[in-house]
Amino acid sequence: MDLFPLSLVGGLIALDTTAALQGLISQPLISGIILGWLAGDIALGLHMGVLMQLLWLNQLPVGAAKIPEGNLASIIAVILTARLSIFYENSQNILILTVVLYALLFSWLGTALTTSIRSGNARLFDIISRTLDKECIYVLSAVHMAALLLQFIIQTAVIFFAVLIGQMLLQKILVVVPAEWNNIARYAELAIIGSGVGLTLSLYKEKKDVLFLLIGAILGVLFFLVM
């Protein structure tokens, strides 16, 4: 699938983060599977999804907290990797490393985007308030649909241009990176998952959690011994 339809699907999935449903569809694992499948490489989408998933897990969207936009960043990362991986089969480690770095940048920019969308919503809120004064209650449905459409368009555009720019940028970088660097970057994925696990551990710091972490580890060992 081309970049534009992929960005449209990405924009639609990204709505699940806050605006609609909030049923985990926008989480990297699920968006990775959907976008990977549409891009023609479901295994790659799954791989990128699981790689990025744990990084954002300990960020709790409590109240008006500003947290990294991990879901949008992961959508960009999956599409970008799917579009570049066929050209860099021998530099996969470097590719993943640079894509994740790029996604980290967008997770930070995504926070500013969310803040802007919320500020824009304040104007929509004023419209609702003014129109209700004129006794028109249908404004609530109309503004909600408009807000969804607006967010969809903004997120689609961000995904489209982020992938486009990333593609140009990364291609320029990957051309000049020596082939042996791929070997140096062979532990990049482990570092990303390790970081994800380390960050997630902050959610399980009670004494009794340690016991269940150990039980999980033992179950994991037993599984591999039996299988």
């Binding site: 609609a20 985990l24 799954l46 609702i128 482990l190 390790g194 380390g198 551990l201």
Partner: protein, 253 residues
């Protein structure tokens, strides 16, 4: 047309509207526009007068915030109270407003501690563990589906029953938000999350680090370093950058 009680199909309409509760989330009223949006079927049922309908909805545009799923309890209760006010003339608008404001804290605390901190991580960790453990694509995709099921059963349950129980309880809705009411499910999901995180660690080590000292070192240092820095409230981006830098150094050696 005289004021009527809410019908079952109204609850279904309200439920569908709760799925868009945060579409107009903003710093002025937070989710208040969403609350007013969900109450449209209520005002249409209890009043045929445009001025009255708009007046009720306008009252609910005042600042309100809550966890998006647990907000259903407030929406159900508000539906009941507005219905009571329109049909039986029980209570008054000021009392309803005070009640709504009093619910902000309990709804936020209950929802954030229940969903964001426990159910969501546990469901995602279960999905991640399955995807990492299994090699066959069917099982890996099955794990992703399991993650969605594990999360969305309590998610949709709270959205729907919150609405219904809130409607039945009215001013007594706050009793439904007691910590004890969710203790068992929270405990199960917390255990599930911790066990799954243990499985994730062992699986990654087994697949990558069991025969390579460098990989083992990177993984262990990334986990311990990230956990330590997170404890010191360092942002996640520098933490991940540091881990990747460390991986490059060990890769170079």
């Amino acid at each position: 047309m005289p004021a009527e009680k809410l019908k079952y199909r109204d609850f279904f309409c309200i439920f569908l509207r709760t799925l868009l509760l945060q579409a107009v989330w903003n710093f002025k009223g937070m989710i208040s526009a969403g609350i007013a949006f969900t109450l449209v079927p209520v005002v249409k049922r209890i009043s045929s007068n445009r001025t009255e309908q708009a007046g009720i909805l306008k009252r609910h545009l005042g600042f309100f915030n809550a966890h998006p799923y647990f907000a259903s309890f407030a929406i159900g209760a508000l539906a009941r109270l507005e219905e009571g006010l329109a049909i039986n003339k029980t209570g008054d608008a000021g009392q309803i407003e005070k009640f709504k404001v009093a619910l902000i804290g309990p709804l936020g605390v209950a929802g954030d501690a229940y969903f964001w901190a426990i159910v969501k991580p546990a469901s995602i960790l279960a999905g991640s563990a399955g995807i990492l453990v299994f090699n066959r694509m069917e099982y890996r995709l099955g794990s992703a589906v399991m993650m969605l099921v594990l999360y969305n059963i309590p998610h949709l349950y709270i959205r729907f029953t919150g609405l219904w129980k809130g409607y039945q309880s009215g001013y007594n809705t706050y009793k439904l938000l007691k910590k004890e009411n969710y203790a068992r499910v929270k405990s199960v999901y917390r255990i599930l999350g911790a066990v799954m995180l243990g499985i994730v660690m062992v699986t990654v080590l087994n697949k990558n680090g069991s025969r390579d000292m460098g990989a083992l070192l990177v993984f262990v240092l990334a986990i311990t370093g990230s956990a330590f820095l997170r404890g010191k409230r360092v942002y996640m981006q520098p933490i991940v950058l540091l881990s990747m830098g460390l991986a490059a150094i060990i890769g170079l050696l």
